[in-house]
């Protein structure tokens, strides 16, 4: 049968804001996939009216009007404290702090670390795309050894600037009972959604801090085509960043 043009409703999560679609992310960007999983998680949990979505500066800012949930776009690295303030003020709301690896591990590392320490009852989602996407592809704390970026034109040299930050590992080392810490990947969307959902449920149950890092593509700055994009996420990144849950509430641990 021939290809024909019809009118149809796309399979967007209910909480997506159709007026801002097509969204502002580049073709093939992992932000879009993560936000799809997050949207599905919000839909499935039925919390669209309770979520406050905060996005950082970095490509995450492009999601400022992404959802039909009340949203605030903050400063680079500062989404964690803004969402913390919202949550402290109104614990009945569900706060999501959405940021990049630069925002979370570099300029905002003190906020991430201390939100984890204090066990803030918020959900932080961090896009690990091994570079600073929005500013055009500089080295991020997560940049892979040897990876060429705008500020490591000869490849990241671990002798000079170290190895990629292991975020969830770090957060798990300081977070305590009630915290949920995981690393998902756009290479495993079902798992990613499960992690995101658990991270939200953990907040809804009032257990403590939830943190999910997401291995995510940046085809624009990596200068990859679709095949190379998948390869980078599934092979190169996976080699450096183990995917899984690092801390699950309920399991009481002695530190």
């Amino acid at each position: 049968m021939a290809k024909e043009t019809i009118a149809l409703t796309p399979a967007m999560p209910k909480c997506w804001n159709p007026d801002s679609k097509p969204h502002k992310f580049c073709p093939g960007c992992g932000h879009g996939l993560t936000l799809k999983m997050l949207g599905q998680a919000i839909d499935e949990l039925g919390i669209q009216d309770k979520v406050i979505f905060g996005c950082d500066i970095g490509c995450s800012l492009l999601s400022w009007d992404f959802f039909n949930v009340d949203s605030v776009q903050t400063h680079h690295g500062r989404t964690t404290p803004v969402i913390t303030g919202i949550k402290r003020a109104r614990p009945e709301l569900i706060g999501i702090a959405y940021m990049g690896d630069g925002g979370g591990y570099a300029i905002g590392a003190q906020h991430l670390v201390n939100a984890a320490t204090r066990n803030e009852k918020i959900t932080a989602i961090l896009i690990n795309n091994t570079n600073y996407g929005m500013t055009g592809g500089q080295m991020a704390p997560t940049t892979l050894p040897g990876q060429i970026t705008e500020t490591t034109p000869f490849g990241r040299d671990p002798e000079d600037s170290g190895y990629p930050t292991m975020g969830p590992e770090m957060v798990a080392a300081i977070a305590r009972e009630g915290a949920y810490v995981a690393r998902g990947s756009m290479a495993n969307l079902r798992q990613l959604k499960r992690f995101l959902k658990k991270a939200l449920e953990n907040q809804m149950e009032g257990n403590g801090f939830s943190f999910v890092e997401v291995l995510s593509s940046c085809p624009t700055n990596w200068r990859t085509n679709a095949e190379a994009t998948w390869r980078f996420v599934e092979k190169d990144m996976a080699e450096h960043f183990p995917v899984g849950e690092f801390k699950v509430p309920g399991k009481k641990e002695e530190k």
Binding site: T5, T9, P10, A11, W16, K21, H23, G28, L189, W230
Partner: protein, 90 residues
């Protein structure tokens, strides 16, 4: 705002499911293509939202309705609609 918004879609019917591509959402990233287990997704002559080629299937009858393409599309530009008889099997 309650009504689900409809978009223009290029629809390709097939034995098990139809492949519906929203050209105003597709950015031509090709992620779907790489993930189709039966490798039927190809670059289309039709263009997506950025003026880059959108995608279609070369033979929709070969589609196994796995929805992989729909799932991996960051832009929700594909919708697979499983044919009624197949739906029961799901």
């Amino acid at each position: 705002m309650t009504e689900a918004t409809k978009w223009r879609a290029f629809s390709q019917p097939g034995k098990r499911a139809s492949f519906n591509l929203f050209p105003d959402l597709c950015k031509g990233c090709g992620l779907c293509m790489q993930k189709c287990p039966v490798k039927i997704i190809i670059w289309s002559q039709d263009l997506g939202v950025y003026g880059t080629p959108a995608v279609e299937t070369s033979d929709q009858d070969k589609c196994i309705a796995c929805k992989m393409c729909e799932n991996v599309c960051p832009d929700a530009a594909i919708r697979i609609i499983v044919n009624p008889q197949d739906k029961d099997k799901e």
